[in-house]
């Protein structure tokens, strides 16, 4: 330590300051990029899908709904749809998003199953996986009934 030369000293200062400058910039830059992952999710909204008694028994009905949503810096009206099926234990609302990699499934009335057009996932009317790659059954929306109308909670 006692024999530290001028050169060594300046080299030490240059490297140290270089590291410090980098660190000072990396923190805000990193936060800037990661911000969407750090933001807390909102509670979600209850959306009405209409009268609860119109849904067919054991046959999923495709219901479109739309709502206003904050999409980054813009507010936008998004249209989505759900499959609602009347079962003995009540109404179930499925998200059409395939649990494999997120394509939209469609209901095939002839075969009584949901088919995913991407990688061939197949689900039955209760959302259970019959074949193909999906790892989980179809996602069910949280539902509630109010004054005879069906509501689902969307993120």
């Amino acid at each position: 330590m006692e024999n530290i030369g001028r050169r060594d000293f300046f080299g030490f200062v240059a490297k140290g300051l270089g590291g410090l400058v980098t660190a000072l910039l990396i923190i805000p830059l990193g936060g800037f990029v990661l911000s969407p992952a750090l933001r807390r999710e909102t509670e979600g909204n209850w959306i009405s899908l209409g009268d609860a008694d119109k849904f067919a028994v054991e046959r999923p009905t495709r219901v479109e709904y739309s709502y206003e949503k904050q999409d980054g810096w813009m507010r936008t009206k998004v249209s989505r749809y759900a499959f609602v099926v009347q079962r003995p234990e009540g109404l179930t609302a499925f998200s059409p998003v395939c649990t494999h990699l997120g394509c939209s499934v469609g209901w095939n009335e002839e075969k009584k199953q949901f088919n995913c057009p991407c990688h061939g996932g197949v689900y039955d009317a209760t959302g259970k996986v019959l074949s193909g790659p999906p790892p989980k059954p179809l996602t069910q929306f949280e539902t509630k009934l109010e004054e005879g109308r069906l509501f689902i909670r969307v993120a």
Binding site: C103, P117, P133
Partner: protein, 451 residues
């Protein structure tokens, strides 16, 4: 002229530059196969130039992207050509870059002292794929949207941090405005910067170590070699000329595809990636449930790791492919696997498309009757210009493809049951065949050519 050259040479060192880049001796065995790298370089330049020009008109927002790309296609002079070249050159790159990689692989040219040249090359190959993947989403059409949904979901499979990665890549859980600006910034700023850096290093190393030439060292006697300029440069430019001719022809005759605007509610759309990612798409079908991560991440990851580490795995100096049976087997196997999976994906799709075509068979005479019904029933009071323009009701272009026939019929009978909140009155007095004719008319609707 000579004076000017001397002036510049004294200050910039042009002679040293030319000696290093242009007059470098190539082994006598250098042939046409050695133009593949030059072809890839040329295509990257084409992409940078056409990309910059496309950016003059493109707007990276969900509302602006599709409209601005349509504008480029339809209104900008040579817009179809420039976008077509950008699209086709991307496809060409996905052929030429792997061919260049295979050529180097089979020639054993990654061996000492060219390990870093190879690694830079592999990184450039990955960058090419990243360019293709991020470029997809930018037109904000159905194809780009769904390919990106699937592609980003694959990243979400990473254990523990998958969800965070997904959110960082998409700028949130769903694919929206923030995803588009991110993909745009990565595609036009970050990837090009990386490309120029790695490409510069790659070219520098090629010039520093010289061309590896034949795998038979007896044919690489540099004293019998020739300088890069003019012989090999002329070959490179012949290839460049052929490439640019093919690009222009394809851009002019076929152009770049543009689907309907991205629509997450369209379940009849069959999402497919471009042909060069079909093998990966097909592979995902074989890994059910919790094994999906194997097809989506583990196998591709192992493949890339193998490519990057290859010069250290195989350090033996022998280069001739017939003396490297394992390498030959691996290279051949990779090519075979790629071709086989791509063909299987195409075969599966032919089946799906056949059943879908059955369901939506289109009849022009019905469409004509549908048009009459459309006016008679006052539909054009809300769906203006024969349904092509939004009034009180939305534009109906594309609606016939978005919704299955049964949905449309139910929607005529009771619109609120299918889309709650719709202002459309019930048309339950129409006969079923009248509804089908209307559906055929709606299917026939196309965007007006000028507006």
């Amino acid at each position: 002229m000579k004076k000017l050259y001397r002036f510049l040479d004294e200050r910039l060192g042009l002679e040293a530059f030319a000696n290093f880049w242009l007059r470098k001796l190539l082994p006598p065995s250098t042939n046409w196969l050695f133009t593949l790298g030059g072809a890839a370089f040329f295509l990257f330049v084409v992409q940078i130039v056409t990309g910059i020009f496309l950016a003059l008109y493109y707007a990276p927002t969900p509302n602006g992207a599709y409209a601005s790309v349509t504008y480029i296609q339809e209104k900008v002079l040579f817009g179809k050509i420039i976008r077509g070249i950008h699209n086709w050159a991307a496809s060409f790159l996905m052929v030429i870059v792997p061919l260049h990689l295979l050529r180097v692989f089979f020639w054993g040219a990654y061996k000492k002292p060219r390990e870093l040249t190879w690694i830079m090359g592999v990184l450039l190959f990955l960058l090419t794929a990243a360019f293709a993947f991020t470029g997809y989403l930018l037109p904000w059409d159905q194809k780009g949207y769904w390919a990106t949904v699937v592609g980003t979901n694959m990243m979400g499979l990473v254990p523990l941090v998958g969800e965070y990665i997904l959110k960082i890549v998409r700028g949130g859980m769903e694919l929206g405005a923030l995803a588009l600006t991110r993909f745009y910034a990565v595609h036009v700023l970050i990837l090009p910067a990386l490309l120029i850096f790695f490409l510069g290093l790659h070219l520098f190393l090629i010039s520093k170590h010289g061309s590896a030439g034949s795998w038979d060292e007896n044919k690489n006697d540099l004293s019998r070699g020739f300088p890069f300029y003019p012989k090999q440069a002329a070959r490179d430019l012949v290839v460049a000329f052929l490439l640019v001719s093919a690009l222009l022809l394809l851009a002019w005759r076929i152009g770049a595809p543009l689907d309907d605007m991205a629509d997450p509610t369209d379940e009849t759309y069959i999402p497919r990636p471009d042909w060069y990612f079909l093998f990966l798409f097909q592979m995902l079908k074989y890994f059910p449930g919790r094994w999906e991560i194997v097809g989506a991440l583990v196998l591709p990851g192992l493949f890339v790791a193998f490519l990057l580490l290859l010069p250290f795995i195989d350090q033996k100096p022998r280069k001739a492919p017939y003396r490297r049976p394992l390498a030959l087997l691996f290279g051949g196997g990779a090519v075979f696997g790629f071709v086989l999976l791509t063909l299987l994906a195409l075969k599966d799709d032919l089946k799906i498309r056949a059943t879908q075509a059955e369901a939506v068979r289109f009849d022009p005479t019905w469409a004509a009757e549908g048009e009459r019904l459309f006016v008679e029933n006052g539909c054009d009071g809300c769906h203006l210009e024969g349904g092509r323009k939004a009034g009180t009701g939305p534009s109906l272009i594309g609606a016939g493809r978005r919704h299955p026939q049964a949905w449309m019929i139910q929607h005529f009978k009771d619109p609120q049951s299918m889309s709650p909140g719709s202002k459309m009155p019930r048309f339950d007095y129409l006969r079923e065949d009248e509804m089908i004719k209307l559906i055929h008319y709606i299917k026939s609707l196309k965007r007006l050519p000028s507006n």
